[in-house]
């Protein structure tokens, strides 16, 4: 969580982006001069399936208010099938977080190709607003990591 000069809540969004599609998609949205919020911090991963559940939890621990995982569209994974495993894994993880009472709208998986700069920007705008509405992450934060 961050607070801006007007003391308004600024959600911190961590976006895990696969190198081959979504990271290039983010790049494209930049070269196209499309806006997406500065709240979004991108972490590049070789493939969406590199992200294990611990990464998501760690992001929340260190202060993220929302975590989004972006990868190639099903069928397009650079490593053929990584994102299919991602899909099952994350579905079960998100469901478990929901089961533990952690707001499910703080997590998301989105498929963004290297050609979808506009989709990347739109997704990030929308997700940031959704998390902003939820307010700061309290249920899965580590008090020792709180900034203020």
């Amino acid at each position: 969580m961050q607070v801006n000069n007007n003391n308004e809540f600024q959600p911190l969004i961590v976006a895990f982006c696969c190198n081959w599609c979504s990271y290039a998609g983010a790049d494209l949205s930049g070269t196209n001069r499309l806006n997406y919020p500065t709240n979004v911090k991108i972490i590049r991963v070789p493939c969406s399936c590199r992200v294990n559940p611990m990464f998501i939890l760690r992001a929340f621990q260190r202060g993220a208010d929302g975590v989004i995982l972006c990868g190639c569209h099903p069928g397009d994974c650079h490593y053929t099938s990584g994102n299919y495993f991602t899909r099952r894994r994350m579905t079960l993880l998100f469901s478990m977080l929901d089961f533990l009472g952690i707001e499910r709208d703080r997590t998301r998986v989105e498929w963004v190709s290297a050609a979808e700069g506009a989709k990347f920007a739109a997704t990030m705008n929308e997700f940031t607003e959704a998390v902003r509405k939820l307010g700061p992450n309290r249920r899965l934060e580590d008090l020792r990591c709180r900034k203020q």
Binding site: P53, M54, L57, F60, Q61, P74, G75, S81, Y84, F85, R87, R88, R89, M90, T91, L92, L93, F94, S95, M96, L97, D98, F99, L100, G101, I102, E103, R104, D105, R108, V109, R139, L140, E141, D142, L143, R144
Partner: protein, 323 residues
């Protein structure tokens, strides 16, 4: 039952078919039996036991036992045979080194349920026609047998042995159990209520790691919780994040491999209902990817090790019922 088991074990030892037997050994009291390996007829006579309190699942011990030379006889209850199969499938147990005798399952008793009635100083517990006679240092108390059965036996999923070399007693059927009822009840609560429920449960955790240590699905040579570089190694949880994290990761690591044997909840000194976390995964897997019972056989691919092109998207979680 116990006599028949000892007799058969002695025969197999004498014939040289096995050179060790894994079973349960009498404890100091009639309710604290522990798993043990026996090597002689004399040891079997002295301390082998099988009764209402021998609930420990012996499968996991076979991981270490089958690394050793020779063959071991294992007595497995129906639920334990699922764990056994799962371990064979994961190449953790050498099937050829085990002689499996299937024995009837529970219901087994849980001494904590007796203690929860305020009965203390327990010396001995006897089952007389499904009424428990509990001898204590203060006299004799009674309680109905079925009110003291362990949580895992309350929702038994199967009386059928999925693997055995021979059976003592009858084989049963896979049961239509009520094991997802409580999971469903939680699912129908609001997210705040669920959060409060789990806070009150998980905050009791003392991170003794017993649930991990006993679990037949947790057989990693080096567990993440033992890796000092992981930042999450064995130690008391510092705050609610670490409590949540430990339980999410533990349950996730066994997702698709957990046979729902119930050992984790049984050994938890804080009586945290860990089986609800495991069953949540099982329930989700069943409903999203098709019914799957870990340990049912040694051939089916685990649900997290495979995929279908038309699997549902993760957004299904966000679209479900009430927040």
């Amino acid at each position: 039952m116990q006599e028949a088991m000892i007799k058969r074990a002695k025969e197999l030892l004498a014939d040289g078919i096995v050179d060790r037997v894994i079973g349960w050994k009498k404890g100091e009291f009639s309710y604290d039996h522990t798993p043990a390996v026996f090597t002689s007829a004399q040891e079997l006579d002295e301390s082998f036991v099988c009764d209402d309190f021998t609930s420990a699942n012996l499968s996991k011990y076979l991981v270490k036992e089958t690394i050793r030379e020779g063959k071991i006889l294992a007595f497995l209850k129906p639920c334990d045979t699922y764990s056994f199969n799962q371990l064979v499938k994961e190449h953790r147990i050498d099937r050829d080194k085990v002689y499996v005798i299937g024995i009837p399952g529970g219901p087994k008793l849980d001494i904590e349920k007796i203690r929860a009635r305020g009965i203390t100083g327990i010396l001995n517990v006897r089952n007389e026609n499904y009424t428990l006679k509990i001898e204590t240092i203060y006299g004799v108390s009674e309680m109905p047998f079925y009110e003291a059965i362990s949580v895992k036996c309350e929702s038994c999923k199967s009386k059928k042995h999925v693997v055995y070399d021979e059976l003592i007693g009858e084989d049963g059927e896979v049961l239509d159990s009520n094991r997802f009822d409580m999971v469903e009840k939680l699912e129908n609560m609001t997210s705040q209520e669920r959060y409060d429920f789990w806070r009150s449960e998980l905050s009791k955790c003392i991170r003794c790691n017993a649930c991990r240590t006993v679990c037949p699905a947790c057989t990693c040579e080096k567990c993440v919780f033992e890796n000092p570089d992981s930042g999450i190694e064995n130690k008391a949880a510092a705050d609610s994040f670490e409590e949540n994290m430990f339980h999410i990761i533990r349950a996730f690591h066994v997702a698709g491999r957990c046979t729902d044997c119930g050992e984790c909840s049984r050994v938890c000194p804080e009586n945290i209902p860990l089986h609800l976390l495991n069953r949540k995964f099982i329930k989700d897997i069943n409903s999203l990817y098709g019914t799957y019972q870990a340990g049912e056989n040694t051939t089916d691919k685990a649900p997290l090790n495979e995929y279908k092109m038309d699997d549902c998207e993760a957004s299904i979680v966000h679209e479900r019922g009430a927040e």
